[in-house]
Symmetry: C2
């Protein structure tokens, strides 16, 4: 008898860009240069201090580290938080394998199978996979592009609440929308959580990436909410070190800390070589981050201006992270994304975009939206924007969309989503 995959195994969603990857490979084989606006892999250099530690590693035995992380790594993290004005005790932070593991630990500690997790859509698509792994159900509240994807009001939160609701996950600054929630906005959600005995899990991996004077307050800075806040953090974006897989979970809730530590003990330790590199994070001065953020701001400006100028495209100015979600004058963004790879090139270049449908849990939403990442350096970003614009015009002609779009162009265009 052949055993059958679990319902959970079936329910773990595929990456929304997965089907595009072979099409991109195919385009490259045809000699087309594929520029990636779909992924969050920065081209910024990992700090030399990290790389020096690795190149000078003298260890002869690559041994387990403590399950919660080495004293050096945890010490460096605590100093980092202290510089932000956040006092994090030794027993309030656990080193994790990327922010990903911290999210999984938080979901496991805060929910039982069948429990519900409130999340604002569009959301970081992998939350759905972690919820599936935990056997929890993601319940989406929809944010609107017209509001710059800012958080819905209290009544929407109350409406979504059931007896199984256990936690809220927020990502601030937001992937995929680039929205930054300010203190009042954040505190309103925290108050909702406190009123109903829910955990507030804040994914703050883009903390420093804010523009135009916006800033993303850490949930750790909210007085009176210590018992319900769990912060998920990562070195991936902050230090352009995605591949080392190192992050942390921070909480003042003793029970959550202890449960997360027991999970950490079960998987033995976070990646050791990564911790060797990251022990140098105290040597990475604020000038590194300032330069990185300035570079992203310049890229955002370029991509935002170019996309805003496309007739029928719509977005509000992104405030942080290095992504945004925008509406395109197409009926089906997935079809458009595929077509760009299979049927189009502009002076030898095309672009891969991430259709936004996978960032929504509500069926039918996001069908004419894409997430664009601005992690290419500016000359390539410039080429990518030109190819995107030319591709859109050509695609609309091919699909017979030109007349309709002219009729409905403008910031309030509503092209109905397909399927």
């Amino acid at each position: 008898m052949t055993p059958r995959l679990s319902a959970r195994g079936l329910s773990i969603p595929a990456s929304p860009i997965r089907t595009l990857v072979p099409l991109g490979d195919e385009a490259r084989r045809r000699g087309v240069r594929v520029l990636h606006l779909n992924i969050g892999q920065p081209d910024i250099e990992t700090p030399p201090a990290f790389r020096e530690r690795i190149r000078h590693l003298e260890e002869k035995v690559y041994a387990y580290t403590p399950s919660g992380g080495t004293a050096e790594y945890l010490g460096a993290l605590r100093e980092y938080y202290a510089c932000l004005g956040l006092t994090v005790g030794m027993n309030e932070v656990i080193g994790t394998t990327g922010g990903s593991e911290a999210i999984l630990f938080a979901m496991n500690a805060c929910t039982d199978p069948g429990d519900e997790v409130l999340v604002v859509e569009p959301f970081y698509t992998n939350y759905a996979a972690f919820a599936a792994m935990a056997g929890a159900r993601l319940v989406p509240l929809t944010a609107r592009g017209e509001d710059g994807f800012h958080l819905p009001g209290r009544e929407a939160w109350e409406r979504a609440l059931t007896s199984r609701t256990r936690m809220v996950v927020l990502c601030n600054p937001n992937n995929p929308t680039g929205t930054v929630y300010g203190r009042e906005e954040l505190e309103a959600v925290a108050r909702f959580c406190k009123d109903h005995g829910l955990f507030l899990v804040c994914d703050e991996v883009y903390r420093e990436f804010t523009y135009d004077g916006h800033s993303a307050p850490s949930a750790l800075s909210l007085p009176g909410y210590e018992e319900l806040v769990v912060v998920v953090d990562s070195l991936s974006k902050r230090y352009s070190a995605c591949g080392i897989r190192l992050g942390c979970l921070v909480t003042r809730n003793r029970d959550v800390y202890n449960a997360a530590l027991r999970m950490a003990q079960a998987r033995l330790s976070p990646p050791g070589l990564a911790q060797v590199a990251a022990a140098a994070l105290g040597e990475v001065g604020p000038e590194y981050t300032r330069a990185v953020v300035a570079e992203y701001q310049a890229r955002r400006d370029m991509l935002y201006e170019a996309v805003s100028a496309i007739p029928g495209a719509f977005l509000r100015k992104p405030e942080g992270a290095f992504y945004f979600v925008c509406r395109l004058p197409v009926l089906d963004a997935e079809d458009f994304a595929r077509w760009m790879l299979t049927d189009f090139q502009h002076e030898g270049v095309t672009v891969m975009v991430a259709p936004a449908r996978g960032f929504y849990a509500t069926a039918g939403l996001g069908g004419n939206e894409v997430r664009l990442a601005y992690v290419l350096h500016r000359p390539d970003l410039h080429l990518a924007v030109r190819a995107l614009e030319a591709g859109l015009a050509a695609y609309r002609k091919t699909r017979g969309l030109v007349v309709e779009a002219v009729a409905t162009a403008g910031p309030d265009v509503h092209v109905p989503a397909e399927g």
Copy 2:
């Protein structure tokens, strides 16, 4: 309102040695040398080829790798399996963050919350944590020290079966018992699984560590069981590289592979620096493994002989891995383990042992057993054995056990477990 930890969060077991660690630290502060027989951290050097790759790393951006692992790492793994006579296709192996993540992926793919997992106790204690994370229930079948902890017969498996049973987890060679299951023994379990449509998850991370002509056949080598076998593997022990956190999941079951790959995509990639090191695994010749295994065999011989000679201790000769479980002439092995750290030293030395109770799911079992690891080099192992022997004699005097133990000593002694 303060939110409450989930029942799952509460149920994740603490590491069985966790309470001993502060006692060990305390002993060290008193100037006592604490030798560790409790942990599986080898003192063997990580292969120089791994370390050279790390020291010569030129990458300037530590970027995400493919979610399933780099082509170099996967290629090296496939060659490793080919040398064992196992053909592993490109779409049959996924790089994981240690064997730990492979176990979690397997549990998530094969069970839904509430499903049951059959496991032979004593078992690798962290299976219980991964089952708790997956919301699955571990159902133990008890192996007996008198049988060298070999697998129970078919009727025991049939008795344990319910409508919720979905998978069997075997560890071969076994941690904690050091038992090696031969081909017939393994195939009998595979047949049971096939007859009932269960998955067979085999943790084979100690594959090469077998002694006295024993060998541990891979479940991948059983013809006719391709659809139900999932192998969990790790570089940690084989290459003494525990800290890099790199392993893999191997399966010919398409559904399990796809589900595991989607989970892998959700967490983005396995540790990248680890994969840089491990890409050199093809350069590590069989002489490295031969020397390592010979060293462990010599340590096993020393520890086995010494412990066997302790009056009232009982074990069968361990066949593989680098642990064994033995019965000691005490009423409560946890009390003994603590006492060794708080009240004892022999010429400035004491030892930390792992009480075996945490390796059982059935309450009351393992109370007078410990797991001993032989990962110290021989001079230290010699000191450790002498301290253990002297400690046992002194402890038994302190606890008034001397007369009773003399009366019941021998291989069949049954000291009742406490509590």
